[in-house]
Structure formats: C-alpha cells, structure tokens
Symmetry: D2
Subunit: 311 residues, 4 copies
Amino acid sequence: MRKSDKVIITCAITGSLHTPTMSPYLPITPQEIIDQSVEAAAAGAAILHLHARDPIDGRPSPDPDLFMQFLPQIKQRCDAVINITTGGAPGFSEDDRLAAPLRALPEMTSLNMGSMNFGVFGLADKYPEWKHPWEKPFLEASKRFAANHNFALIERIIRELGEGHGTKFEYECYDLSHLYNVAHFAERGLIKPPFLIQGIFGVLGGIGPDLENLTAMKQTADRLFGNDYYLSAFGIGRMQMRFLTLSAMLGGNVRVGLEDSLMIGRGQLAKSNAEQVAKIRTILTELGMEIATPDEARAMLALKGPDRVAF
Amino acid sequence: MRKSDKVIITCAITGSLHTPTMSPYLPITPQEIIDQSVEAAAAGAAILHLHARDPIDGRPSPDPDLFMQFLPQIKQRCDAVINITTGGAPGFSEDDRLAAPLRALPEMTSLNMGSMNFGVFGLADKYPEWKHPWEKPFLEASKRFAANHNFALIERIIRELGEGHGTKFEYECYDLSHLYNVAHFAERGLIKPPFLIQGIFGVLGGIGPDLENLTAMKQTADRLFGNDYYLSAFGIGRMQMRFLTLSAMLGGNVRVGLEDSLMIGRGQLAKSNAEQVAKIRTILTELGMEIATPDEARAMLALKGPDRVAF
Amino acid sequence: MRKSDKVIITCAITGSLHTPTMSPYLPITPQEIIDQSVEAAAAGAAILHLHARDPIDGRPSPDPDLFMQFLPQIKQRCDAVINITTGGAPGFSEDDRLAAPLRALPEMTSLNMGSMNFGVFGLADKYPEWKHPWEKPFLEASKRFAANHNFALIERIIRELGEGHGTKFEYECYDLSHLYNVAHFAERGLIKPPFLIQGIFGVLGGIGPDLENLTAMKQTADRLFGNDYYLSAFGIGRMQMRFLTLSAMLGGNVRVGLEDSLMIGRGQLAKSNAEQVAKIRTILTELGMEIATPDEARAMLALKGPDRVAF
Amino acid sequence: MRKSDKVIITCAITGSLHTPTMSPYLPITPQEIIDQSVEAAAAGAAILHLHARDPIDGRPSPDPDLFMQFLPQIKQRCDAVINITTGGAPGFSEDDRLAAPLRALPEMTSLNMGSMNFGVFGLADKYPEWKHPWEKPFLEASKRFAANHNFALIERIIRELGEGHGTKFEYECYDLSHLYNVAHFAERGLIKPPFLIQGIFGVLGGIGPDLENLTAMKQTADRLFGNDYYLSAFGIGRMQMRFLTLSAMLGGNVRVGLEDSLMIGRGQLAKSNAEQVAKIRTILTELGMEIATPDEARAMLALKGPDRVAF
Ligand SMILES: [Zn+2]
Ligand SMILES: [Zn+2]
Ligand SMILES: [Zn+2]
Ligand SMILES: [Zn+2]
C-alpha cells in the first residue's frame, strides 16, 4: 500500500441507494446537490462522488442534462475533484451508465469491479409510508437483482473513459474477488497505477461489516499491488465511521456521505454531508492525521486536472 | 468450524465449465458419467457432485430426463451421496436449474451463494481447434455474463428443495460475501446447521488462488457460524491439490474432480476423476488423515438418506 | 470475544519503563501518583494500573510501604478498580515482585504471560543529559536483559494471588505465544474466565506496532477462548491512540497512561494521565461508544470488590 | 516472500530437546550423527542442522571437540550445507554456545531471535522410567527457565560469525515478535538479505500449532521484509508434517528431523531422520514440487561455500 501522508476524504453526496422517504436531508435537486457538495468540500472533502436524481421524485437518473445542471456550478464554487458514478441503478442500460461521464469527462469516475447481489430489500419494510410510489418497489426489486458489472462492461469503461479521456477510477471493491478483477485488468496493461481501491463493507451481497475484513482486504491488495495502490474504505450504515477510522489508521483514505449512511449517530439523521465530513475530520485530527486538499489528492492520484474536463 | 475426524471427499464429475475439446477424459454421456462416478466412489469419494451434458455435443444440459439416465445406475452401483447442481450454465432459466433436482429430490444439491462474474473467456484462446462449434462462443460469452444467483432465487431453492424435500446444500462460496449471504439465510431461520461451506478459489471473478484466502475464509466462517459448519474447499486449475490439502489440514473437507481441474500434474491430463480422488487420498493418508465413507458423511451432514430420493 | 457494551478504560499511571528525565509530568512521589490517579479516574478511567517509584530519584521500587502510601488515599478519593503490577523491573526478585500485591491484595494485578526481550536501550541515546545517574545505565541494561516471566513464576502468582486471595488478572500479552500461555493455564483449570487479555504492541522484543497485529491477536484469542475473554490493547509510543481506537472498535477495551506513552500528540508531552484518558474518551464518544464506570467494569470482569482488599 | 522454485529441506538431526529415553533412534554418538546425517542428505535434505550430545549419556553438549568428531566426516560423505546450532541448552553459557560455531565456521548457524519460555516440562511425566538420571530434571527445569536470547547476544553472534566469518543464519522465529527482532537488526544494517526465516510452531512458550499462525507469520514477514526473505517452517510434535506442507505450498521451505518430532505417524516412532525426509519429499512431490539440491540451496541463500569452513 502506498501510505497517505494526508488523508483524502471522498464525499458521496446522494447515491442511488437511499430514497427520499428515508431522510429529508438527502439532496435531490441540482441545487441541493450543489449546496451540499460545496459545503462538504469546505468541510474537508477533496473528492465529490456524484449521482443525479430526478428533481421531481428523487429517483436515480442517468440523464446527462441533469448532471450538467450541477457540475459546472460545483466546479465554480469549489476546487474539489469531481467523480461521477458509472454504477447506475437497476434498470439503467450500459449506455445510460456511461452517458453522463462521457459528456462531462471528469477527472474521476467510480468503477464497480464485479457483478454481485445488492440486497437493499430489507429497507422496504422499515417505513410505514413512502413519499413516492417508486421507492418501495425499487427497494424490493433488489431481491431479484444481480448488479451487472461484467468484464466486458468494465473493459468498455476503462477504454472509453480511461484510455480515451484520461479519467482515473475509484475502483469500488465489494469483496476480495473484486481486487483480483482489478489485478486482471492491471496485468493486461489496461489500467495504470496508482490505483485508488475503495473497499465497501456491509452491503447485503458484499463483504460484511466486520473490521477484520478491511485488514483482509488490505493484506490481499498488498499481495496483488504492492506499493501501487492507495487504500480507501467505508462501511455502510451503522459501521460507517469505524471503517473510515480504521482505513485512515492503516495509512489509507476515507469516503463519507449520505450515499453510504444517512446517520450521524445512533438514531440521529445527519443534517448534511458536511456534517459527516466534519465528524470524520474531528476523529482523524484527534488521531494526529492531516487532511489532503483537492490539489494534494490530484497529485497523489495523478489526475488530469480540472481544466481538462468537459464542464 | 466443526472439525472433521475423517475427511469427506466430494468428487465433481464433469461440471459445466470445461468443454469436450479440453480433455478426452471429460465424461459426457450418461454411461461415461456412470462409470467415472462409480470409479470415483470406489477410490474414496463419499459425495458425487453431478451435472448432465448433451450426449451428442457435450453441451451442459438441464434436462431431467438426461439426469435420470445416470442417477439410478450410479445409486445401484455405489452408495455415495448424490449431489445435483443447481448452478446450471449461461442460458439456463431458473426453472431449468431446478428441473432435475425437483425430479430427483437428491440428498444434496449445490447452492451458489451469490451473483458474480465467472470469467472463463481466457480459455477461448487456448485451443486452435474445437470439437464442437458451441464451445468457443460459450467460453467467450462469459465476458459479458454475470452468473445470476440472486437472493430470490436462493430463497426459492432453499424453500422448494430444502424445506420441501429435506435436501441439504453444498453452499458454494466464491468469496467472503457469499458467507455473509449464507449467514443472512441462517439468521432468517431458513436453513439449519450443520452447513457444508464449499470455498472455491481461483475462478476469474471469484476470490483468487492464494492459499491465504482459504485461511481468511475459515476465519470469517468461524466468526459467522462458530461450530455450526463444516469447511470444504478446492482450487480451480493449477492450485487444485494445494487447496484441498490445506482445507483438510485445517480440519476441513475436500472436493476434487474434472469439473474443477482437468489435470493430474503439470501439463498432464487426469485420465479419470478417480485418479484425482486417489491422488488426494494418498496425500491425506501420508499426512495421517482418514477418509469418510458415504455413511459417515451422511451422519456428519445430517442427510436424509438414499432411501428418500426419487430415483 | 465477549463484546463490551461499554468500553473499560485502564490508565497505567507511571510504570517502570520511562524515567524522570523524559517528562516532568511523569508521577514519581506518592502524592503525584495519588493526584494523577484520582484525576484519571475522574476523566473516565475505570481501572488504575499502578507501580511505585522511589520518591527521591524516581527509580522503580517494589517496596510495599511505598505502595501503601498511595493506595488507601486513591481508594478514598475515587472508586476506580486498583490494579497493581507484578511485572517489576530489572533487578527485582520474584519475591520483590509479589511483595506489594500480597500486602495490598488488590482486586486486580497485572500478569506478564511470558519471558521476552524488552529492549528500551534505544532511549538511552535520546537524551543529552539525565536528571539521575541511574537512568541511562538502567535503559542500556535492557540490551542484555531477558524479562523473566517463566511458567513457574506465573503459576505462583496465579496460586498465591488468584486462588489465594481472589485477585483477577490483567493478562499482559506481548505476542501471540502469550495467548497460548494463558490457554495453557486455563486448560489446567488454574484460571477462570472471563479473561482480560491485554495486548501490547510496539515494545522492541514484543510484537510490533502494526494494526494488523491486533486483528491477528483477536483472531487467535477467538480460537483459543471463544466467548471467554475481553480484549483490551494499547500501543507503545506513537501508535498508542490508534491501537486503543481499533481495540474499542473491535468491541474491546483500552489502556492509556504515561506508562505506555508520554505524549499527547506529535512532539507534545502529555501534561497528565487524565489528558490521555480525556483524549481517548473524546475519540470513542465521537465513534458512538460509551465508557464503563468502575462498577460496570467490576461486573464485567467479575472482580471481588473494593471491600475485599487489604488497604 | 521470495518464492522458492525448489523446496529446501533442512534436517535437524538430534537437537537438545528430546532425551534418549524417548526414542532409541535419536542419534547420540558422533557415529550415529554422521550416519543419520548422511542418510538424510541422501534422502533429500540440502541442509543439516546439527547439535552435539555427550556420547555417554546423551546430554546436550557444547564441546567443540565433539562437533569436530562428526563435522569433517559428514562433509566428506555428502555435500549438504552444514548448519550448527547457537541455541544451546539450559546451563550453557554464551561462550559455550559460540564455541563450536567459532571453531567450525560453518556456512550457516541457527540464530534464536528472542528470549522466551521454552516449556518441555510436560514431557517429564510421560515416561515411567528414564535411561539416564539427568533427563527428568532437565525437562522439569524448563518450568523455571527463560531461554535467554537477548539483543546483546544476538548482536554478538551476528558480529562474530556473520560479519567476522561470512556465516549466514537460520533465523529461528518462535513468534511474530521475533520477526520484528530480525527487522531491528536489518534496519541497523547488521544483517543482509536474503534472510532464511524459520518459523517454529507448537513449543509451549512459543506461538501455537495452529496453521493459521503460519499464514500470519508470512503476512507479517511480507510486510517487514518484502521480497528479501525465504520462508521455512516446521511444527513441533504431532503437527510437524502439516506445517511443512503448508510452508512449501505457500512457496516456502521446510525443516524436518528428530530434533522437532520423534514420530513418523500417530503412535509410531520414526526410525531415522531420513525417514522423515522421505515422507515430506513424497508429499511435496505428489503436490508437484521439486526439491533443492545443496548447491541450489547455496545459490538461493548466498552461502559462502563448503570450501570456506574450518573443518
Ligand atoms: Zn455511488
Ligand atoms: Zn458444479
Ligand atoms: Zn505496568
Ligand atoms: Zn536446533
């Protein structure tokens, strides 16, 4: 692992997993996404990981026009690295998933490193009433759903965005197998270090929320990539902050944000993404660590720079 | 982990991954499957893990009639436990995958514990000529393919075969996440211990063929299941025998067979399934271990017995 | 591991490793030990781990009379559990090491679980001048020194203090072998659960200050003790707070104090033991954990109670 | 870890742990040591690890004259690398331990990497009668004994034998801490790679005989030494062959011999060292591995060669 002198905080602002019923603070409209992004950057996030949502009903949307309603404004108002999802949501075609990234050509995109079950159906029973009719069926559908990130799709994303436009990837790894998939593309010469390995713990269908698993992931990545990768990690839900803390203590980086957890403490909704950024920043500072600026993150990850994006 | 006093050898006779071009010893016809199964049982296999193939071109087949051409004969000629795949192959519908098991109602079936990429496309370039036209496209298709074992399908298999007919499962775990999926169904009370956890190492798309990963899998299963599971494991291809040996040395069980590797040594095709059974038996015996009989395996795994199957 | 609902903070007030030159805040006299102990308890320490020092030159001392100059006062002024070292220092005889504990018959004592090198000679070159002439030779002597905690001595401590007087132990484990030594005495029935396993990381001669080692220690203890132990841990020096944080995040407990580190941050001496207690309390509270009171610690560890000590 | 293309088998012929009562096959006299050494080399041992014993009563002896009664003859009759213990036995002074190595100046010596308890007292109750009166008290004494391998002694051995005479070391590591001790001397520049790390599992007082511990040792060594070390390992007693097998399967090397276990199977004494060498050779060959010759071992370990020893 390449040890981080300073910790890169990525903030995943809204995602496509949570639904409007779950928290009034989940940003939905372009304006909300802009405001929470800028605020998160001010609080210390060096990278903003972004999805779009339909401004009317909050449903995840692949529409590039929607993305273009917030990307330029965020860029104007802060210097954080912008990272656009390629993960999409159930029902998105492969072309859908690539549409916004190919329009915006950002410095980074996410890249899911393997197909998997992604079981959020447990949330479907937790809310007696829903703001929008799509929410409950959307969650229930995850029971029958295999999130499809096959090798051909991964290769296409690498070729079109990476080779084609100098975009670098947040390699989303939901289990140890996904590290081997990264290694597969590295061995074929299609991707170049340093790799930002984003370990994700606690999705039903992925590796579980036991901290030992982060150690196991680091040990596996050390074997596969030696000094050629940066570690980052997060836990879903209740274990969110513990995974962040351990990742940073191991010399890695962290990701927070309402995409990954809506809470700021037990039974307490986070009022904003920035609140989560501030919380992890407090913990890391108490532990004697420093936080990377966007430009420090760019240097570490060898990004192309904000002047080479299409927004 | 529940330590095995005696090691259960499962033999996976033909599978649906390898194709006829790859080895003349791969059993294809019902008679070949019968003969190799009986021979493997005689060599020490307590469990026979079975797929069917089209007798004309060797293509994986879900046809229950085909299964019924070999199941009764194997049962007559040996007392090994019969375990039928529910994993199928690309192109099989969910009903296809359940057809033969629901006809035969065997003591055991396999149960893939999560969706995943299953990348065998690398084999498509290794053979200059093919016996059958379906083979190369079949392998290449794995590049675009996510093997779909979603939660709803797993639950259906558990309910129809397990609850419905007392069938027990070989929980095929290609990564640590799959253990958490087993735990999910155990917590919901849908499955009962002891669980036979079958760790699979070295498929592209699954956890890789480093022996450390088997230790990590055992440590994770120990956390999740305590004393409620038996471990078994195998490596795909070149590392096959090493994973078997380690699993048994850790107090677990093993799976061999031409489904998992066509070789018996470097550059040397195995002439039969029995040859692989004999090899691992030699190694385990040298290491001071004993091999479980079919009835000892039945007792360990709490199987319903061969008198309660439908063939 | 038995998960702690609330985290027990042990504070090791002065120890026998650091010397007066290293920090003006290191408590030396009985009064200093009293004041810092009471303050640490007020800050959240449930257990106070105590050594004595010669009030004139700060040298570690086994003199029970010295201990009796601070134990009663600490007991009067706070309700923390009192834990007396049996570890001693180079030059102490076995009788020396047992003298104070056998006089005071405390609720707990430390118990070093194996002989080892204990290399603090590196500190001998870090200070150009020394307050007292004994300090530098004392540190240098650790190069030729094997800290002797042989099986017979451990058994004697267990029999005289444990069986004889109901004292419970803080099992100080400087490596995985020490866990097996605990298991040895448990198998012989000489000690009873729950065990408080105190993992110590970063002494030269013991297991090193990599966080992965704490995971390895937990995994080993889980194998050996199942649910029969509580984990606690600390790092020596710079990694102190990170080990505490990880231990608590894993469901374990923590030990702080000037015995283990003189610092509160990079290049910054801690002004008191209480300052370190407060710091870890802040971190754990941010992570959503609660701190155990002395009586909660007594209940968890099944201690005999402060009314059954001899001071 | 530096992967071994071929596996180096070290054979530890007699040691100083077992006593004559325990097996009639334990070599005692110079002639017995010669014969079993030569036979072990013929069976495949590339390195012979040697202690001397008093030819009258079998007691471990540091006498260089005794060593010189077998070293030249072994050298004449086989080309195996000769490795002399520096570990000694209870009662040996530091000068005793160095006497034979400094006389013989072998290509290799052992080097115990830390002080520890070494508890063989459990054997004292297993034999109703003893051949020699020294045996039982010798074993019982291990209860009060800390094997002393302090930093100053290790440094002396490194300087006198390593720097002084080009001897390379078998770094005997009984726990993870011992790896950190090796790293300490490597950081100070006193020793040079490649290091032969010999992991020892199952001595009471050292790390225990669970195979997971070998994985943990490899992971720790990988962190500390990267590609600068060769792994070797063995288990004491019943687990001997399993540790050898795992070490080799991980890409490491092995040590057998009557020093480490007197058995060849459950309840069955090994009739010679060669019998153990042959057994592990069979297992490794079945697993597809090749065995290193003495000259291949010399090349791997960068030894000075048999022409530069003093016998
Ligand atoms: Zn996302
Ligand atoms: Zn199968
Ligand atoms: Zn202490
Ligand atoms: Zn030896």
